[in-house]
């Protein structure tokens, strides 16, 4: 199995051990590996000095996605070789290559943050606040009109979004520089339509229309940052939103999306990865797939 690492807030949990085979394109099935960093927001991933957040660094090290070289610097193991001038100790190399019998390649990393930044922005805006958003994906007519809302400038909310995501680009570039070739940023999930449920989770009084608009702004900025940083933005809004909120069929518990939505993400990921591969790897008689009864191409 080849792991795909989902790193970030509690939305990563649904990917835990989800497994998918796509034998037309990949010889070995993929498995989701959830690396949960409690309460991690986009604003926390990396600090002003370029150091990863402790929770983030711990899961990278714990999964041996990053190892320390003899020179004290950090490396992604798949980028090292015995001949490297930075060669690690025998044990480190064993951990990264010689006994991992599959070919060592750059594992896909999917960063999932933004939900706590959304909550932070909503708390700052306060209840009964709204703003104007010019985005073709946003359709205000699906929400009930509210009387007596205080309008704040959209530029103010945009600035909040920019501020929360200001250092995320550095984090993504650092991962790319470490040697990860497949870094993805997952879009923030369309919000729940249920205000009371959102309050129960986050203790923030807010309205679905405002949540929806802030998520769209966060996602627009995440897309820009991913593009500027050599990462790929996985935009799941259109696939999972209905009337500007999370479609009922993808709701797990009012704050997270369910397995059906996670599988959509998996498909999108594999689609992207398949188009990166230099050559397709058709499998005719893979023992695992045949025993599991999965059809061959």
């Amino acid at each position: 199995m080849r792991p795909i690492y989902f790193i970030g807030d509690s939305n990563v949990m649904i990917f835990s051990h989800l497994s998918v085979a796509a034998p037309d394109c990949f010889a070995v099935p993929f498995i989701g590996r959830s690396l949960y960093c409690p309460q991690l927001s986009a604003a926390d991933v990396i600090d002003a000095d370029g150091r990863f957040d402790e929770r983030f660094a711990q899961v990278l090290a714990g999964e041996r996605l990053v190892v320390s070289g003899k020179d004290g610097k950090q490396y992604a193991p798949h980028r090292l070789s015995y001949a490297s001038e930075h060669a690690l100790s025998v044990g480190e190399l064993l951990g990264s290559s010689t006994l991992d019998l599959d070919t060592l390649t750059s594992p896909p990393l999917v960063l999932m943050v933004g939900n706590l930044d959304l909550a932070w922005i909503l708390a700052e805006l306060g209840p009964n606040t709204d703003f104007f958003l010019n985005d073709p994906r946003y359709d205000g007519s699906v929400f009930e009109e509210r009387a007596e809302v205080a309008l704040v400038p959209g530029s103010l909310v945009r600035e909040m979004v920019r501020s929360r995501l200001a250092r995320l680009g550095t984090a993504l570039r650092t991962l790319v520089d470490l040697g990860f070739e497949h870094v993805f940023v997952h879009s923030v999930t369309p919000p729940t339509s249920n205000d009371a449920r959102y309050y129960r989770w986050r203790q923030i009084v807010t309205q679905a229309s405002v949540r929806s608009k802030v998520v769209l702004l966060l996602n627009a900025r995440l897309r820009e940052i991913a593009h500027e940083s050599g990462a790929t933005f996985l935009d799941m809004w259109d696939a999972t939103a209905e009337r500007c909120v999370l479609a009922a069929k993808y709701v797990l518990d009012g704050d997270h999306f369910n397995k059906a939505a996670a599988l959509l993400t998996f498909e999108r990921l594999l689609n992207d990865l398949a188009n990166r591969a230099p050559e397709p790897t058709p499998v005719t008689e893979h023992p695992l797939l045949s025993v599991l009864g999965i059809g061959q191409a």
Binding site: I14, I31, G62, G91, L94, T98, N271, A274, E279, L292
Partner: protein, 270 residues
């Protein structure tokens, strides 16, 4: 030409992880998938928590588990922050962790943890006590020394049990390389094969005893990995570590233990 993806994807059942944690003998299990096709079809996946240089004598010191073990258990999500100490994720009563478990979309269940350590302790003993390990009384001497070396491991097992990890097992120590030269080249210790074979046997008996005392399963692989007491070369690609075939044999024994002694499942290459 770029590959073209069509949507011919198949979603598999979520496999049950088998957490192999410890020295470099855990690495062969990494991300390998196994199918148990007995009375109930079930998938298992090997998860590796490799701790560079882990000795059994370091597993527990003072009143704490070794820091690298804590870090590995934490990274794997097996232990989480409690009010003032770590607690097992599957047992945590805190609302936060119950919600996190809910976000996974399935019930929390007790994980299976399989520990691997002891090889490096034996290498150290072979290096430091080479002369005492020859001749009359050497076996009793080695046994006493090994018992003392494994005492921290015993405390570690107690720690795991107290945390609520009941599906806990320890792997038997694999046989050393037959070749004196190869062993010396790899471990920088000069010994002869007879002493090495003897000490592995003594150590495994001691491990079995420690495990029995603490209600932990001991996964004895001697029958799979040895001809008599000698390493089966074909199972050790680098003459030191187990390869894929031996890993599969190990997993069959682990699964059989988990399933209460059911007949060993057929191996499946992942």
């Amino acid at each position: 030409m770029a590959a073209t993806f069509d949507s011919a994807t198949t979603y598999l059942d979520r496999p049950t992880p088998l957490h192999f944690i410890g020295d470099s003998h855990t690495l062969a299990f990494s991300d390998r998938l196994y199918l148990h096709a007995g009375t109930e079809r079930k998938l298992f996946i090997g998860r590796t928590g490799y701790i560079n240089g882990l000795h059994a004598r370091d597993v527990f010191a003072g009143d704490a588990l070794h820091g690298s073990l804590i870090a590995t258990l934490s990274a794997a999500g097996l232990i989480v922050d409690g009010d003032d100490a770590f607690e097992a994720y599957h047992r945590s009563p805190r609302t936060h962790w119950q919600r996190v478990a809910g976000a996974e979309g399935r019930e929390r269940s007790e994980p299976c943890i399989v520990l691997s350590c002891g090889t490096l302790d034996l290498v150290r003993i072979l290096g430091e006590l080479a002369s005492e390990l020859r001749g009359a009384g050497s076996a009793a001497f080695a046994a006493r020394h090994i018992d003392a070396t494994f005492a921290p491991l015993a405390s570690g097992l107690q720690w795991f049990r107290a945390m609520g990890f009941d599906r806990l097992a320890v792997l038997s120590i694999v046989p050393f390389a037959r070749s004196d030269d190869l062993f010396r080249e790899y471990f920088l210790v000069r010994t002869d094969a007879a002493v090495r074979e003897s000490i592995v046997g003594i150590a495994n008996r001691a491990l079995a005893h420690v495990c029995a005392r603490h209600g932990v399963a001991f996964i004895d692989r001697s029958a799979d990995l040895c001809d008599g007491s000698v390493q089966r070369n074909e199972l050790f690609p680098d003459c030191i570590h187990i390869g894929e075939q031996a890993a599969t044999a190990t997993v069959r024994r682990v699964i059989a233990w988990l399933r209460g002694g059911e007949q060993l499942p057929e191996p499946l290459d992942g």
